[in-house]
């Protein structure tokens, strides 16, 4: 793997900018070029499929068609929601020539179905297999719990190489970073997802439950791959701390950040200084 297509999506330009920074930094460290799809558009996540079925397929269709026309056979979508929409659309198109025909008409671009979409777990695993493991010189020695939420564990035709009820896709990578993976109860529980704004109270309850479980398991930090999970566990944790609903702060790191630290990259270069909950205690020189 030398060159990989790259689809940042909206969150990696906004709330999840540290995911973008750390994924790019990690790819550089592993000697992999990320080629951003030119003229990409919104994947439609959370909003489109609750409004219009055609639009919900048409938006990812256009992204896939662009990637294909730009010669990208493998595309990394670090955001879990983007991954789910893009890959799910690919699966639906492959099963229905009729849908493909309609989308071709609507988007006015052909798509033959040659693009495969990687999520962050698959991306990291591929980097490790490609030689990144040897570059992880810094053993972090932390106790971590792996948090998958829904979009990195569910959709039986989308997350095809993991068990929805007992996901394990991050564990090898976390261990490669010199961390212990603790068993715990909330690896695929809901964080509250897109209700962060509209039903903040419910999201606080759900995030608190996940954080309580992580603490009960004895974790130093929670590792996640999804910007939505990250925002609900990281940003909303401030409110939980303010209301004294949790006894202390729990750092939430992206998998790519953890691997970046293990590779000896600067915390600031990975975007660790952008979190609401600091991770200074975890590693020397941490933000």
């Amino acid at each position: 793997m030398k060159t990989l297509g790259y689809y940042p999506g909206c969150s990696l330009r906004g709330g999840g900018i540290e995911l973008d920074l750390s994924v790019r930094a990690l790819a550089r460290a592993a000697g992999v070029e990320l080629r951003e799809i030119e003229d990409w558009n919104c994947c439609g996540a959370s909003a489109a499929h609750s409004l219009d079925h055609a639009l919900a397929v048409a938006l990812p269709y256009r992204v896939l068609a662009l990637a294909e026309s730009q010669g990208l056979s493998e595309v990394l979508a670090p955001c879990a929601a983007c991954f789910s929409r893009l890959k799910g659309t690919g699966v639906r198109l492959s099963r229905s020539p009729e849908l493909s025909r309609r989308m071709h008409e609507l988007v006015e671009r052909p798509y033959r179905g040659s693009v495969s979409i990687l999520n962050i777990n698959e991306f990291v695993a591929a980097l490790l297999a490609g030689g990144l493991s040897e570059k992880l010189t810094r053993k972090l020695g932390l106790k971590a719990v792996a948090y998958y939420g829904c979009l990195l564990s569910r959709g039986q035709d989308i997350v095809t190489n993991d068990d929805a009820e007992d996901p394990k896709g991050m564990e090898a990578a976390i261990r490669a970073a010199g961390c212990e993976v603790l068993p715990w109860n909330s690896s695929n529980e809901c964080c509250g997802g897109g209700f962060s704004m509209s039903k903040t109270g419910s999201v606080l309850d759900l995030s608190q439950a996940v954080l309580d479980e992580a603490r009960a398991a004895g974790a130093d930090l929670v590792v996640t791959g999804c910007p939505m999970c990250h925002s609900n566990l990281d940003m909303r944790q401030l409110e939980l701390l303010k209301r004294r609903r949790i006894p202390g702060a729990m750092p939430i790191l992206y998998l790519s950040e953890l691997l970046g630290l293990a590779a000896g990259l600067e915390p600031a270069a990975l975007g660790l200084d952008r979190h609401f909950i600091g991770s200074r205690g975890l590693v020397r020189g941490g933000a």
Binding site: E165, D166, P167, N185, S186, A216, A217
Partner: protein, 658 residues
């Protein structure tokens, strides 16, 4: 010249409604070779059969075609009638005007034309029928029962009671099967051991039963009445003739921590062991996978303490050949492995156990002496949650089918728990309660009403373990329409019933079919529930489908009756529809030998007078051949023909249609 009689049946209105039967009879009368053609309301009735008998005698018929139902329904009936009138029964053919015609069509004119065509085809065949004689094969009047659980024991006792010899083969060191592991049995709560162990002793001491424990079927040759079975007598390392079962060896064995399979891993055993104190035979075996003497050549303590010198570390597996006439497969079941359910802890939660583990906890002879306690910390659980349909009725991650016994044993578990822990809570999650059986529904009502089991209708979505060890069971109460979370100390999963490991390989040895889940296939789901497609091989118990004890015992007795019926005559008579090889034209390409699913097609050496092999051809064993015709269809030199369905006859049938 052929003199064919045609008899068209109305089958009440079944055929008559859609087919013009008198019209068919009139058309058949004009077909070549037909000397008589009539129709009648019920041809299978006594007057109907009488018409056929009378016509055979009076018209001197050389062949008969009955246009009626499927031959599977009444071919035997009509052939018997023909035989009574002195006609070779294989000169009678049936045209299927019901299942293949009237039942599947509505246009009367077209259906009538099709019926005429079907009759014409069978007339063409009947004109080329040859008289055939039933094949006689001698019978070895000894039965073999594979599997020493309750089904196998019952079948063996019934056959032995009927005066025939039985070899009872059991894979484990003791007979008794799963039933020996149960605490009490539904729906009467009688003690499982108390009703089973006397049967075990009876089987072991019956003069007609030879017990072969710690043994497996290695290979099978032969056919109904004449099987030669090679049995692997696994090395026991203990000479059962010298051993008195005193127990000195297993009391001294230093390896004390081996999980006992009999106790579902809750208790421990030694490396030399009897699986449970009431084992039959009550003689230990050495577990070669653990024994340090066998693994590393160190220890030898059991040999030192044995007062009879019965220990033999040099013991080897032995192969023993036996001749048997019939076989009963009673290999039973095991529980589905619930570690496939990540949402229930993926097999990692110590206090989430299966039904057998609970049986051993509740059993007076179990590792806790009947005290219900949880495996992690030996605490008596205050709340036990029972989950039914764990892996059953789940097309995605488990099994499609209903495992049938779980509703009942879960009710029993809840009841036993409440009897032992009065202040405890027993909560049962269920999809439906299926309690069809004598006294079964009453039993479940008793668990709920008299013993206070709380039944919650709904599935459990997740079981998690809190840091303090409490299990959180989250599910839906679909009757109340709300999610529920129960804090439990112990969870018992009613895992699906699946066939015993290795059962598919055994089925292949005997030529018995099995379904996608591995359960053995009976010959007919309603009318031949204990026979298999392999003649002389019968089924008993849960190897065929999930079954409880009463059903297993009933089927075991049924298969014993079938075996005794088979043994009632010194010779077997079977249908002469078998393949024959023309040895003059056979070029010995061996295509038929590879194609034969029953191993009936074999090499045959043609000898000259001096006994020297002149050439080798294919040949078909009359006893093994099931008449499927596969060999005839693959033979490139047209040297194989099927009696009753010759190439000539098939071509004549096709020509009659063109």
């Amino acid at each position: 010249m052929a003199r064919i009689g045609v008899f068209i049946c109305h089958c009440g209105e079944n055929i008559g409604r859609t087919v013009d039967c008198p019209g068919v009879a009139a058309a058949a009368a004009k077909m070549p070779g037909v000397v008589l053609s009539v129709d009648y309301k019920y041809m299978c009735s006594d007057p109907g059969q009488g018409m056929i008998r009378k016509a055979i005698e009076e018209k001197k018929l050389t062949g008969v075609v009955v246009g009626a139902c499927s031959p599977r329904m009444h071919e035997r009936t009509f052939r018997a009638a023909a035989a009574e009138a002195g006609l070779n029964p294989y000169l009678l053919e049936m045209a299927n005007l019901r299942e293949h015609c009237s039942w599947v069509h509505s246009d009367k004119a077209a259906a009538t034309q099709k019926a005429i065509d079907l009759v014409r085809v069978m007339v063409a065949k009947a004109r080329r029928d040859r008289p055939l004689r039933p094949i006689r094969v001698p019978v070895e009047p000894t039965a073999m029962v594979v599997g020493g659980g309750i089904a196998g024991i019952q079948a063996a006792l019934d056959i032995a009671g009927g005066g025939k010899k039985v070899i009872l083969v059991e894979r484990g060191p003791s007979i008794g099967g799963h039933m020996a592991r149960l605490s009490e049995t539904f729906p009467t709560l009688d003690c499982s051991q108390c009703i089973l162990t006397p049967r075990m002793v009876e089987a072991a001491s019956h003069p007609n039963i030879t017990l072969m424990t710690y043994s497996e079927v290695d290979s099978v040759e032969g056919f109904v009445g004449n099987f030669t079975v090679t049995i692997r007598r696994k090395a026991r390392y203990v000479d059962p003739d010298k051993c008195t079962g005193c127990g000195d060896c297993f009391n001294k064995c230093p390896l004390k921590k081996i999980p006992n399979e009999f106790d579902a891993g809750l208790g421990t055993r030694r490396a030399i062991y009897v699986p449970f104190p009431q084992a039959v035979p009550n003689k230990p075996v050495i577990d070669a996978a653990h024994c340090t003497m066998l693994l590393k050549g160190k220890c030898g303590l059991c040999a030192k303490v044995c007062p009879r010198g019965a220990i033999d570390y040099q013991d080897k597996d032995r192969l023993e050949k036996v001749k048997v006439g019939a076989v009963v497969l009673a290999t039973g079941f095991q529980l589905w492995d619930h570690s496939a359910y990540g949402e229930y802890g993926g097999g990692r939660l110590q206090d989430v156990i299966d039904g057998f583990a609970f049986e051993r906890l509740a059993s007076a002879s179990g590792p806790t002496g009947g005290r219900i306690q949880r495996p992690s910390d030996a605490k008596v659980p205050k709340t036990v949650v029972f989950l039914q349909c764990c892996g059953s009725r789940d097309d995605k991650a488990g099994k499609k089918y209903c495992s049938k016994i779980c509703c009942m044993y879960t009710a029993k578990h809840a009841m036993l728990y409440r009897h032992k822990v009065h202040e405890g809570r027993a909560v049962v999650f269920y999809m439906d309660v299926r309690a069809a059986g004598k006294g079964y529904e009453e039993f479940v009502r008793r668990a709920i009403e008299a013993d206070g089991a709380e039944y919650v209708r709904g599935r459990v979505s997740r079981i998690t373990r809190r840091a303090d060890g409490t299990l959180l069971v989250r599910g839906a109460d679909t009757l109340a329409g709300r999610p529920v979370t129960i804090e439990a100390d112990l969870v018992v999963l009613a895992d699906a019933v699946v066939p015993r490991s290795g059962s598919e390989k055994l089925a292949q040895l005997f030529g018995v079919g099995y379904d996608g889940d591995g359960f053995y296939s009976e010959a007919h789901p309603k009318l031949r529930p204990v026979e298999t497609a392999a003649a002389g091989v019968f089924l008993a118990g849960a190897c065929q489908a999930p079954k409880d004890i009463p059903d297993s015992v009933a089927q075991a007795s049924a298969s014993a009756a079938k075996v005794l019926g088979l043994f009632a005559k010194p010779e077997l008579e079977r249908e002469p529809i078998i393949a024959r090889v023309n040895r003059t034209s056979c070029v010995h390409c061996r295509a038929c030998i590879h194609a034969c699913p029953y191993g009936a097609a074999k090499d045959f050496d043609v000898l000259d007078r001096a006994g020297k092999v002149v050439r080798t051809t294919a040949d078909v064993n009359e006893g093994l051949c099931q008449g499927c015709g596969t060999c005839a269809s693959v033979c490139r030199s047209h040297s194989v023909d099927l009696d009753g369905f010759t190439d000539e006859q098939i071509h004549a049938e096709l020509n009659a249609l063109l």
